[in-house]
Symmetry: C2
Subunit: 656 residues, 2 copies
């Protein structure tokens, strides 16, 4: 029986961070968020006056009681009905699930939208043609349709037999051409061998023809408004993927759809479309383009994002043997997905390869041209799921491994996304074991983002603070007060409380190291087993393309030092940035590129790691920093030898 003197505790979980803890009854939600280093804004110090700490209560809303008058000032009616409250005025009296929306988060997210620039000539599926038609008379009684088709044939040599008029525009067609005095611009979309007239606009609008390319990442959305006549980007926008409240990683999102059925499927689709539509509107405003001037859209994303975006039932892809529903590129009328664009715009989703190798990986293979090269190259697309491809013009194979979200700051005590105040780079001074770090926009530290989560274990290893198994060398607590025994486990202080924008020291814990270790081991295993299956070693790799969520912000040598991927000379690592975004743009503006991604989808062979009997033993070996057998990492071995971390036999040298 609980003693009445002990105050009751309730668990609170903050999304999309995924951080949770138990808090005493009556604790303010804002205080709980600060205790968990959640990047929740608050300018007034929690007096309920600034209104910045808006959060959405996804579970336990009723325990907060009635809305307070001061909340009503800051929240719209829709927000109140949607479960929004101010965290500074909410007291914990029951278990809560709390979503921190983008607007309430500290700082501005840094999202990589740039990627490898591959020169592609604009040859889009959508083109505009300005037609000057003769006026009907008793001696020229052709139908309006024939009048237009004959003119297009005469002016542009378009074959009427391949031209189809979309039904929706036939309605107003007779009015439009007459009001425009028989001078009108048609937009034609090439759908396989058919040319579909999707709009008829009065006058000459042929100079204005736009498209939208978008990378749907599990975590972020990056959109590009493109001029289809020139193939150039005219505006860029990005957002966090609003699906995260329904699951941080793709499997939990699929699970929530499986559990919630069609209703959940619709909701999660609406979430992502809502985010995309915001980007479209933002880009249109920036570039002074009307939504109706977007005539085609092109999307890239992993297979789970594809299924959730297109409302394909994702259940069976989540279980062995993980078959995707659709493999080929998909054309869908934009209104069927509720996308903001011309009502007759087509939406193309780039093909996928398998259940865990999606259009994003196709885009990497496309942008790197690895399937066209004579030299062998490998790409590693780092993310919650890491995809790896290997080969050359003769054969490219790919696989995928569940590396988990640790390097995205999830499951890490002070992990955070790459936003203002995030510690993004760390180096440790070997003699004092003290460190220096850099934050995004040089603001007081709020947490640690992905690129620093690679630096930290590398620097800890190089400075001897952790051993080859990733364990803190506790004896060194004598040398630096940064290393200490925390409440539950050993931890190392990255930023002291007084340097930070939080109420805490920002630390990395033994548990955090363990999470990072598991993640990098999974990535390494994916690459290593792929090489073995092909009868190759890392020596055969001429270039390694690094793609994925980190973009170009990581230190590739540190990543190599911790054994995230096979060891190569530094110059062989090449960043490709947001290759998915690059691929989306290429497939939007070029018919040849779209044919090319379909070719990649049928040509690249998927290797299912689950069928590899060596998976478990290899994964165990990869759990060492950088790897159990140091001879596979001669450069790192040399480095650790030079630094005096290991002896000639590769044994870790513990301090006296």
């Amino acid at each position: 029986m609980k003693l009445s003197s002990e105050p009751e505790k309730f668990e609170v979980i903050f999304l999309p961070h995924g951080r949770r803890d138990f808090f005493e009854e009556g604790t303010r939600l804002l205080d709980a968020s600060q205790a968990l280093a959640i990047d929740l804004a608050s300018d007034c110090g929690g007096k309920g006056t600034c209104g910045k700490c808006k959060v959405r209560i996804d579970e336990g809303l009723e325990s907060l009681g009635k809305i307070k008058p001061s909340e009503e000032k800051h929240l719209t009616k829709d927000m109140i009905e949607g479960g929004y409250r101010l965290a500074c005025l909410a007291k914990i009296r029951a278990p809560l699930k709390v979503y921190v929306p983008e607007i309430s988060r500290v700082g501005k997210q840094r999202l990589q939208t740039e990627g490898l620039e591959v020169p592609v000539t604009a040859n889009p599926f959508v083109r505009k043609y300005f037609a000057k038609m003769p006026v009907p008379s008793l001696h020229d009684i052709r139908s309006d349709e024939d009048r237009l088709l004959d003119t297009l044939k005469k002016q542009y040599k378009l074959d009427p037999n391949t031209l189809v008029m979309e039904f929706d525009i036939a309605n107003d067609f007779p009015k439009i051409v007459r009001e425009a005095n028989w001078e009108a611009t048609v937009t034609i979309w090439k759908d396989k061998g058919l040319y579909k007239i999707i709009t008829i606009e009065p006058g000459d609008t042929s100079g204005r023809c736009f498209g939208f390319a978008c990378d749907i990442g599990s975590t972020k959305l990056a959109g590009f408004l493109m001029d289809l006549n020139t193939g150039k980007v005219v505006a860029v926008g990005s957002r966090m993927n609003p699906q995260t409240p329904m699951g941080e990683d793709v499997l939990s999102r699929i699970t929530s759809v499986m559990m919630g059925g069609e209703e959940a499927q619709n909701r999660i689709q609406n979430f992502v479309v809502g985010g995309i539509n915001e980007i479209i509107e933002e880009c249109c405003e920036k570039a002074n383009v009307n939504i109706n001037e977007i005539y085609e859209l092109c999307f890239v994303g992993n297979t789970a994002m594809q299924m959730l975006f297109l409302k394909l039932w994702p259940q069976y892809t989540a279980f062995s043997p993980y078959p995707p529903v659709l493999r080929r590129g998909v054309n869908v009328p934009a209104p069927k997905l509720d996308l903001k664009s011309n009502v007759n715009a087509n939406t193309y989703f780039v093909p996928v390869i398998g259940g865990f190798v999606g259009a994003d990986q196709i885009a990497v293979i496309q942008a790197t041209r690895m399937l066209e090269r004579e030299e062998i190259t490998m790409d590693v697309d780092i993310g919650t799921n890491t995809e790896i491809a290997l080969g050359n013009r003769d054969l490219v194979t790919c696989d995928s491994c569940a590396s988990g979200p640790a390097f995205e700051g999830m499951e890490i005590k002070f992990g955070m996304r790459a936003a203002t105040g995030a510690i993004e780079a760390v180096s440790i001074e070997p003699s004092s074991l003290d460190l220096i770090y850099r934050t995004i926009e040089d603001q007081p530290a709020v947490g640690i983002c992905g690129s620093a989560l690679i630096d930290i274990p590398a620097e800890l290893l190089k400075s001897g603070l952790i051993d080859l198994k990733g364990k803190f060398v506790s004896k060194l607590a004598k040398v630096t007060n940064r290393l200490r025994k925390g409440a539950r486990e050993w931890e190392y202080v990255i930023a002291w409380k007084d340097e930070s924008a939080t109420e805490h020291d920002i630390v990395i814990t033994q548990g955090d190291i363990r999470e990072l270790q598991k993640a990098k081991a999974a990535m390494h295993t994916g690459a290593e087993l792929m090489l073995r299956m092909r009868g190759m070693t890392e020596k055969d790799i001429n270039k390694m393309w690094l793609a994925g969520a980190f973009g170009n912000f990581i230190n590739p040598e540190n990543a190599r030092t911790i054994g995230m991927y096979p060891e190569l000379p530094t110059e062989k690592y090449v960043f490709v940035g947001n290759a998915a975004g690059t691929g989306a743009r290429m497939s939007l503006i070029s018919q040849e590129e779209r044919a090319y991604v379909e070719k990649i989808s049928t040509t690249v062979e998927y290797y299912e790691l689950a069928t590899d009997p060596e998976f478990q033993s290899e994964y165990a070996r990869a759990n060492y920093f950088p790897y159990q057998d140091l001879n596979k990492y001669p450069l790192t071995k040399d480095l650790l030898l030079r630094l005096g971390r290991i002896d000639e036999n590769g044994k870790f040298i513990y301090p006296e």
Copy 2:
């Protein structure tokens, strides 16, 4: 100033008959309808107890006052809100516009649904394929899509590159195939060079594949549920076209759309779709077919019907030079038109030739194969608008003339549609000038329908009761009391009041004769000018195909006697019945026939009568019975000579 002793009179118009007159204030609507020989049912003699005389008040509803308790018993809430009242309880106190719905009309409409049977082998655009797919495993990780496509290739040699999966079905596809244990039936619709998978059904449903063909006539709708596997009709249904309240002829319907704008356009489209959907449901019930088993629909109708059905703005087609909006065949997803069918069914509308030569005329040319013959043939498609085509394999030309609705019983005092009790055939005994008639289903006479409206002037002419100009020979009133001077004009009694189901003698008036004369003159002019334009005479015609609203019920010799079309020996006239319905069925079940109608649409040349300088003079000559120059009608001239109606010089012999 009106004297108070004179009761006020108000105009009442009855639709779809189009008959109108002024009635004294306080007259019961039922009595007014009987005065105008409207075929409105009433079993109780107007006591308000049978509830059969339901009418919809389209204008002047408020003048009828509150609904009466006895009305409430017979009318549903929806009907009351829709303006329905009982005619026997409604008293005229203001001008009224009254629509008599099908259910309230006396007798059952006789609609011709049969047409020329042209043998066509079933080769539909929609086919079903039963696929038995291998179950996924770790060694067979293909996508669900590839698994299906590969199976279709293996079992049926279908090329995956030409196969597209419709987006709407991809959603449930993974569920369906698994629940069906990987045995499923796909329906594939061939759209130009693409094969679209439009349904995936569990198990083997390949034996059940249906389509719906429909003739959208201005007056009637005729629908055919077809088995696409066999090409056979499985059920037939028909209705009056529910658009008639918005205008009896096509021009008045187009006008009401022009006036009422988009709202009217939607309403008139809903009307016709509502009627078609009723037929679809009726046919499905008769044949025990599910609505979802209808995978394609095919429609035929004149150009106005096409525009109103597809919601194409019809305004400009109504004015010179009458260009249609679309000429080619149109494919539209059935849900966009709200048609009851499988959600992914395609709707095909047969092509048209011009603004007044529609898909119905294409169907006649298709069914008669006139474009394939060596011999010259002509077709005359009789209706409110009469279309005429002439030619052989070298060239077929066509034109169209506004013959008006007189032969459909409109604008004729006792005219009515071909329903129970309609006088359908008449012959006059030459010596007594008395007559015999036949009614549909041998019921007491209610009015006169189209076929009798051809017989009557022919019989009047042969018996000398009218002269060659169509004028009643008043002197003969001495011989028969059937010929008399009515209230306003001369008239001839067809059925005496006591033989009829009405309160009146049923007569044909001088005005009626004039209307019929104008109508037949227009038809004749269309045929004659077409012949002249081609440098031909009626002697060049080897066969004349008679199509249209009358179906096969007219007496072709009587029609020839009044000069409705060029004079040929009787055996050269061939009835083709409901050719539009035949054409709709042919284009539904056969890819070759659908290619053929597209060919007809591009090959047949339209001749615009408005550009013919002889139109007026020819029309004047054709106003005679049968024609001003009797030498053009030698058979009729001989007949009239033998009967003693004319002298050797062709002069009419008036009685002493």
